[in-house]
């Protein structure tokens, strides 16, 4: 199942052959989770900005808070046929998309390397800049993140008898790592 989802993501399965997968993902929560996780990993590797961990819940909560507006849809009022037309259009488009996916030929090795490399680098840098400015411009997400942390993390032991909290050591290793600190966690930090 997970292999198939991965293959679908990599365009190795044509969309029309994946109907059972889609149905499966909708009926079993697990498949859907795998699907979104693989997308997250792909986004990070490409340097795209991943949404905050609780984005979906936050969005749903915000939608719940929105007042419900009961007004007839303007497009429907003006053109009763529009709905059917767009539906047909969409269907045609979907068919074309599926064909596109199918006709995708495996590219030769070298151009793929270059494109992956270039996009990873460019987007990664952009991602970083966005990340930095986000933090700079709004204290709110940071605060939310803090709140999330304090709920999740159990208190860390002190890193020394004088009670230097382990957070300082972790911050030091994040910004000025020694070569082995990438692989060996300090004794004060429990995994």
């Amino acid at each position: 199942m997970t292999e198939q989802i991965s293959a679908l993501l990599d365009d190795e399965i044509a969309l029309e052959d994946a109907e059972h997968l889609m149905a499966n993902m909708q009926t079993h929560g697990h498949g859907g989770e795998v699907w979104s996780q693989y997308h997250l990993i792909g986004d990070v590797m490409r340097g795209a900005n991943a949404l905050s961990p609780n984005f979906k819940q936050d969005l749903m909560a915000k939608i719940d808070l929105e007042p419900t507006v009961l007004s007839p849809n303007a497009a429907w009022m003006n053109e009763p046929k529009a709905f059917n037309e767009t539906n047909e259009l969409n269907e045609a488009r979907n068919k074309k998309k599926a064909l596109d996916v199918k006709s995708k030929l495996p590219a030769t090795n070298l151009p793929v390397v270059w494109s992956v490399a270039a996009s990873f680098a460019a987007v990664m840098v952009v991602g970083w800049m966005v990340l930095q400015t986000q933090v700079g411009n709004q204290a709110a997400p940071a605060m939310v993140a803090q709140a999330a942390i304090s709920q999740e993390v159990t208190t860390l032991p002190a890193a020394s008898e004088q009670g230097v909290p382990a957070e300082y050591l972790m911050a030091h290793q994040a910004s000025a790592p020694s070569a082995s600190s990438y692989y060996i966690q300090s004794a004060s930090y429990t995994e």
Partner: protein, 324 residues
């Protein structure tokens, strides 16, 4: 362009570095080290190295690829939790298994073995002397031993084993002032690669785990001189390399984090206002390879730590002057 320059530099370093080091001049010794600094970035290689620090040791599988322009590396921890570090140039993504989750962390990369030396060795030359040792075998390969020794007691000493053919660091060991080994990283297996595919440049995905982005607010560069403190004389050879504002768990406001380096060793200084009703911390200790020093300057709580002698963290803490 940067990659091209790197490749050229490496080629020139290769051609000019003398292979007979028995009677090497000072310049020739530094040339070998310079070549090692470049080789880590400019060669494509794969292998396994072992990290030892304190009581712990971990094996890591590395694959490093340089295509003349860009650098890619994937480091996979083979012992304990299967952490992975993927890097492209200076950007790192760490896949860090924690409990039932895999946390994805983004970092700016530096010091990734075997690229432990800075490209510019000028700062290192100021604080350390270099002497050659014997030819020894590491990971089945022939290596030239180099001793990098501090000119004072403000930093530790290093010993490097450098591949006589590839110019790459095969092994790096840090010793403290009592000549005890503190930290060692060594290849157990290494070979050059010349394939161009990048199929391997992705993490191994564990479908049973949840992947989440690190939800910690990252640090943010801080260019503004503070009205409350300044730095007077720093210990010899150490320079400020970075200053940021960082959210630290349990602190309501971001605290100032300043990083100092002598080219090899790094020290972190944290400055924050003393919290009302909390007894300020003061004292010093050494835990593992790390020296800690806490003190109070005016209304400021100072915390300094790093893989350096105690004298150094004390000197950096004492260089902070409180401005009323």
């Amino acid at each position: 362009m940067k990659g091209f320059v790197l490749a050229c530099l490496f080629a020139s370093a290769l051609s000019s570095a003398s292979q007979s080091v028995l009677a090497a001049s000072d310049d020739e010794k530094w040339q070998i080290l310079q070549k090692a600094a470049l080789a880590a970035h400019a060669l494509s290689y794969q292998g396994i190295f072992v990290c030892q620090s304190g009581q712990q040791s971990k094996s890591v599988q590395i694959k490093h690829f340089f295509d003349g322009q860009n650098e890619f590396a994937r480091n996979v921890l083979l012992d304990g939790s299967p952490r992975e570090v993927l890097s492209q140039g200076g950007d790192l993504i760490i896949y860090n298994p924690k409990n039932e989750k895999i946390v994805i962390e983004k970092r700016r990369g530096q010091n990734m073995f075997p690229a432990v030396l800075p490209a510019n060795l000028a700062a290192v030359k100021q604080s350390y002397t270099l002497r050659t040792g014997d030819i020894e075998r590491v990971a089945g390969r022939e290596a030239q031993v180099l001793f990098l020794e501090p000119k004072d007691d403000l930093r530790y000493s290093y010993r490097f084993w450098i591949d006589t053919e590839y110019g790459l660091i095969l092994k790096s060991v840090m010793f403290n002032n009592r000549n005890e080994m503190m930290d060692s990283i060594s290849f157990t297996q290494l070979n050059l690669v010349n394939s161009v595919d990048l199929d391997w440049f992705k993490p191994k995905i564990d479908s049973k785990k949840n992947y989440v982005m690190e939800d910690e607010a990252p640090a943010q560069a801080d260019y503004n001189p503070s009205p409350h403190w300044m730095l007077k004389e720093l210990p010899a050879g150490y320079r400020k390399v970075d200053q940021m504002l960082r959210m630290v768990h349990g602190k309501p406001l971001p605290i100032t984090h300043v990083v100092f380096s002598d080219g090899l060793a790094s020290v972190s200084l944290f400055i924050e206002p003393v919290t009302n009703g909390v007894k300020p911390r003061a004292g010093h200790s050494v835990v593992g390879n790390t020296s800690f020093y806490s003190s109070v300057a005016g209304y400021l709580q100072i915390t300094v730590l790093g893989e350096v002698p105690e004298a150094t963290v004390a000197a950096i803490a004492n260089s902070v002057v409180f401005i009323k």
